[in-house]
Amino acid sequence: MVESVCMDCHRLVSGQECPVCGTTNLSNDWSGLLVIVDPEKSEIAKKIGVTIPDKYALKVR
């Protein structure tokens, strides 16, 4: 299944709108996958300011 990405929070979304932002501003043109498992311990999550474990795109067009 092709997943789209929320243009605001870069989260991978499977439906028609972002469950966190509530926006329908989604894009199918993205690259680079980042999976945050443990945002409390993860340095990467802290660097990009993510607090919710989820899948994120590194770049969205």
Binding site: L34, S42, E43
Partner: protein
């Protein structure tokens, strides 16, 4: 108390990086392994980066994941992978007046001169050399190869 994070590199089958990262996250959650984040940048073909406190946890996680082949010996630091988190626009390095070759799409193989660079949309406007009438066309910045930087 959380231990320091280190980056471990996992070798995967080519083009399976995203599925491996997704499955590793599921395994880590299910088996309560100390894997904090997984990174599959497009520039890094055949590898997935895992943030963890030790390589043993990563080794254990890849055992049940198909297409995850091995953990590369040694570890990397956060500084070394920082550039993957902030990708550069694809039009970086392309300047007005540069000669490029289109690498995909209907104009594949055509040579052209760059007329305008749009950093925000990552698009460039070019004029094809072989066209009888110079018609500007706008194409994506990642579908070109730079042949000559700027026309002197």
């Amino acid at each position: 108390m959380s231990e320091d994070s280190a980056i471990f590199v996992i070798k995967t089958t080519a083009n399976q990086e995203r599925s491996v990262a997704g499955m590793l996250a599921k395994v880590a959650k299910k088996e309560n392994l100390d894997i904090r984040a997984l990174l599959a940048p497009d520039e890094l073909k055949g590898y997935v980066l895992a943030e963890s406190s030790n390589s043993g946890e990563v080794e254990q996680a890849i055992q049940t994941v198909p297409h995850a082949r091995a953990v590369v010996k040694g570890q990397s630091s956060m500084e070394e992978i920082m550039h993957f988190l902030t990708p550069k626009p694809t039009v970086t390095g392309i300047t007005e007046g540069a000669i490029i070759e289109v690498t995909s799409g209907p104009f594949k193989g055509e040579k052209a001169r760059v007329k305008r660079v749009d950093e925000g949309h990552e698009e460039i406007t070019v004029e094809l050399f072989d066209a009888v009438v110079p018609i500007p066309i706008t194409i994506r910045g990642d579908t070109v190869r730079i042949l000559r930087k700027e026309d002197e």
